[in-house]
Amino acid sequence: MKTKSPIRGQLQLAFGSAVLALLLVGAVSYRSLVESRESDRWVRHSHEVLESLQDLLAAMHTVESNARGYLLTGDESFLDAYRAGIARTEKDQTVVRNLTADNTAQQRRLDALATLAVQKFRLVEKVLGLQRTNGLEAATGAIQQGSGKQLMDDFQKVIGEMQDEELRLLALREADAKRRLAQTKIVLIVGTLLGLLITSVAGWSVQRDNSARAQAEEAMREGEERFRTLANNIPQLAWMADEKGYTFWYNDRWFDYTGTTLEEMAGWGWQKVHDPNHVKRVVEKISRCFQTGEVWDDTFPLRGRDGKYRLFLSRAVPIRDPNGRILRWFGTNTDISESKDSGAKYRGLLEAAPDAMVVVDQSGEIVLLNVQAEKQFGYSRDELLGQKVKNIIPEGFAERLIADGTRSAAEALAQQIGTGIELIARRKDGTEFPIEIMLSPLESAEGTLVTAAIRDISVRRAAEKHLAQMEGRYRGLLEAAPDAMVVVNPAGEIVLLNVQAEKQFGYQRDELVGQKVKNIIPEGFAERLIADGTRSAAEALAQQIGTGIELIGRRKNRSAFPIEIMLSPLESAEGTLVTAAIRDISVRKIAEKHLAQMEGRYRGLLEAAPDAMVVVNQSGAIVLLNVQAEKQFGYSRDELVGQKVKNIIPEGFAERLVSDALRSVEDALAQQIGTGIELNGKRKNGTEFPIEIMLSPLESAEGILVTAAVRDITARKQAEANLLNKVEELNRSNEELGQFAYIASHDLQEPLRMVASYTQLLSRRYKGKLDSDADEFIAFAVDGASRMQRLIQDLLAYSRVGTKGRDMVEVSSEEALQQALINLRGAIEEKGALVTHDSLPSVIADDMQLIQLFQNLVGNAIKYQSSDVPRVHITAVRSGANKWTFSVKDNGLGIDPQYFEKIFGMFQRLHKREEFAGTGIGLAICKKIVERHGGNISVESEPGRGSTFRFALAESQVKG
């Protein structure tokens, strides 16, 4: 008993105390008893000693008196008595010695007694001896003069002492015994009183308790009575057992059904009406329940009075007192054997089942089946009833019904219950097909039957195969998708997903497959898969297909993020699956929020911009754009926000946002800010077009955003390309022209050489031999020919500047000038010109052309003169970085400023041929040479005050 009422505890304590008191009293009494017996013994002992001492004294007297008798009478009989007296003294001495062994004082006295006795006896013997030898007189004399009387007195005295001692001891012992007796009396009286008190208190409390219990028992008995009346009127067989499981009551139904009596059934007698095959299991189970207090449930057959078993469903519950202690067990047995009604119901149920159902007994024979089973196996019901189940399920089923060495049939079956077992079934026509069976036990009067729900899984198998094939095909596709993809079945379970889905939701694939899609998309997705009152699932879905639905996704770590899902149906063996493309629109959402904030500030600005504007965050996602950007790229705003900028600018932009090993994001960006970068844009329709982007940073809550002004430079590029074409064309035509000029002048020279040579020959050989007209005509012909020759040679020279130019090398301009002056030596000497120059630098130039340039300019300076001494001065001054400006200054005729431009043109002359010979090509050649060197030539002059020609050349990079 684990629980104790306080009354019970007190009661126990009270009884305990009473018992303890009585025990104490008993113990004390016992001890007094033992002690008083001991006292008695000692008193008795003292008396014994006293008696023995008395005997000893008496014996001594006997010895003396008999010795006297012999002396007086000589009668030998006195001698005999004398001798017996001696023996008695010795015996008495021994007795006393033994009795007083514990008392040393008495022992000592005893020793003295012994000595006195011996002396006495020796004296008597001596007297007796004298009497025999010397007669009575001698003997009497010896007696009279002897010490016999004295010895006897001493003896008596010692005896007296010993008796006194013993008497003293006796008095002491008696007093002790009396005192003990008084103590014992007190203890007995007090102990008894105490025990009585405790017992009466306890008795009173027990009395009180008992009356309460009696009331409770009365109430219970009444309740039980009512209950029994009730229990007798229920259709079930009912029973009651005490807390130990001892059955003490059955209702009338029980006796009616079993035909037994309470005497037979009481206690554990109910086992008699159980099926011997089941009784062991039933007893085990109910015993366990009785021990643990669990509710008992079982199904088993019970034998009726007709000897037939019927199947009962039994249940027993414990009835407890308020403290939870089990008082009773109440049990019922409900007859669940197949009645006509229940059979019909059961049959209906069986037939209503969507699967083929076959009920099999433990010998493996089919006892029941439904229409679906007939259809599935192609047999009629009658053909199957009574048949071995092996005929339709050759392997794996029958074996499961049969107990083996280690397990009972029930256990064997128990292992299979509820699990789908995949087997092969055989139809009547011999064809086989895959099935899945689910077994469940069915207790019946015939023992445990097995109900097998059999599902044809051919289709599923085919579908699985199909799916496996499909998977192979689609998985690649699925994985290639940029969005997270999740395939969900109509039950809302995830059947397939891709790597992106794993990443996005933070789960492993295995963790998600088979899970409810609600786990990752708590709301709005699963609902869409389900038909409601007005629409079928397919219709419900159809409405959603292709439209982006914005929902909330939930990651494994429970964090939520906004998503957009696009649904599309996927017909499969498992029904219509739904493929959901799930896009994380966090960035877009943030962007939208951000946009809303920024709109007031920037929208106007952004939209007002003539260029497409795109704002991008550091991960390269577009967070903002303007109408121009929509137009330019052909997307609507929503399609672009949240997208990677790579989608519209495939190369060169996103890279610029990313830091590399050498530069931080800011640095990377800083390098790009403000410079127009030419890239390619990509429209929604896939076409590309050239753009120029200008980046600028935009500090925001999300970090540095980058605003890109994107300008479509198709037209500019086109113009540039056109220009380039034009330039190319022009170059080509120029070249052709140059080539033409060269070829023309070269080829013209041949016939002209003939004309010139022969007219000269003519003039030389026939001058003065013909008439004067002929001489004049020949002179014109010769002059024309030579002018034409000069013209052609100058033209050739001019065209050679472009076509026959040499490489630009480092040239000393001073040396070039010297060479030019050498070439001009004739003219200089003829005119008496004074040509001077400053120190001149090294420059990058075509040396031959540089010589030509100086030659032409100095030549002109000398040529166009009126003064007596032509003066020419050449200088060079540094003009800007790496540039030298040369000046050729003369004191010649000067040029009217209106002709400054004209003089550099081809065939342009300011003077009549009669004044100054020339072709008008010299300065054109100069201009062409200077331009070929990347500079330009100019003139500063006033008529009459000389001219200064200036041109610039690049400085040589090599110093020294």
Binding site: H746, Q749, L752, A756, S757, L761, R764, S786, Q789
Partner: protein, 145 residues
Amino acid sequence: MPIEVLLVEDSPGDVRLTQEAFRDANPSIHMHVASDGVEAMAFLRREGNHAHAPRPELILLDLNLPKMDGREVLAHIKEDANLKTIPTVILTTSEAEADIVKSYQLQANCYLSKPVQLDAFEALVKSINDFWLTKVKLPQQRQNG
């Protein structure tokens, strides 16, 4: 004793002008003319009509010729062990660097471009005569092969 010179030139005007110039320079020069490269080679190898042609002491070769141009003729001459000792002077209107380089690569003895002015031309011819036909020492043996 006449000095045999072969002029290879297709332009009759030039031929005449050259002949005139050489006559003025040195009357003892006997000038033979071939108007194309094929004829020039036939003359030098004494083929056909030229079986009795003399071995020239100087060849004046224009570059632009019909049938076989001057470069080929030059190449043939300089490949021919018998002919290659004859000084061959290129006399042409071309001033192209490529022609000059090519000619010297083919072992022309010198390259002269015809001056435009008659005076200059006459001066040039005079200097050819002075140098090639007067001052230059040539192998004595006359191979008549």
